[in-house]
Symmetry: D2
């Protein structure tokens, strides 16, 4: 695991321990909380056009930045509770995705792209 | 940014470029995709009790591991498109959360906890 | 379509027309908004135990009631934009589900239940 | 409650009873399931442009129709468990929304629109 993610993991452990919040942090609950944070992130974009989403103003970007952070925090916390190495898992999944979407078949195709 | 996250970011850039998928990767679309992946993660837990979610069998854990990976991959990709440093954003947000939930008031309270 | 759902549909048409919001109400955007509202509903429950979720106090229930309402409103609006009859679609889907989960195989099994 | 929604509610009660699934249908779990279904609906649109989402082909529309149905089914089931009248709740919420977004201030403005 990367040093930075391990550092976040440790900070989150301390944060929960100080507040006696481990009792609420079952993997099931953390997965729900992660999903809620991902929706709060999406909310920032829901009425924007794709083009507008590429050109956020500084207030929008700061709001998005905080939601991205919340998603990462819950992701690190959940992975910790399940003893999953996020970086190793992501590398392995990227390898699976490369097999699932061969370059020659997937190239530029939103049709193929949507069919997973 | 951590070396490992930068490495994932670069691998995702190459993955998209090879498939000509940057055209689909607006921040708006990536936020939707991230939210969908977070829901697929939640789906793994939705009918389990909290206790069962703490004791996944190996098949369940592998499925969860792949969904955690997908969430991280889209998170890194979206942060890249918006030029956000995820680790710095998470550290800053953790500081804000510490102010929002002072230890003495938040301790062991699911009531306070649910009120954000 | 039921008289009540048709009445909601008409009220939502008028609501959007008065505010010139049809320009934002593409099916894609409405599906994102619906998903965000469903997450706001889930947020009400995320730190509760299952048992607590069965015994909401009046303030919790009112908050949940408003989120249920928001989900229905976006659902009716999206179905209207796609010209889908929600009641007919739900009846048809219930028939498909009955085939997918035969009583004798699905009975009391969270294992089978989670495998869809 | 509308006759059609009451009929769906009763069919869902019977469906769950026959399979002994009430044990899984806590409001908390149903809210998670509803959120997962809403994400499956969003998944149908995630890589489409807004314009494409307004012109689905028949296969896409059938997939969307089934996801809309699943959302309605879980919504009716959850409302039943909480003894909430969906139609009454939606009418009340629409009234609140009219106060929140006055026609003269909200007209045509995606800025105001995104600020809730």
């Amino acid at each position: 695991m990367s040093q930075e993610l391990a550092s976040l993991r440790d900070a989150l452990r301390e944060f929960a321990a100080e507040r006696d919040w481990d009792q609420f942090h079952s993997p099931k609950n953390l997965a729900a909380a992660l999903s809620v944070e991902a929706a709060e992130l999406l909310e920032q974009f829901q009425w924007l056009s794709e083009q507008q989403s590429r050109a956020l103003d500084s207030a929008q970007l700061e709001a998005v930045r905080q939601e991205l952070a919340d998603v990462l925090l819950y992701l690190v916390r959940l992975a910790d509770k399940l003893d999953v190495d996020l970086i190793a898992a992501a590398k392995a999944k990227l390898g699976l995705n490369a097999l699932k979407y061969p370059v020659d078949k997937a190239r530029g195709s939103s049709r193929k792209y949507t069919e997973y």
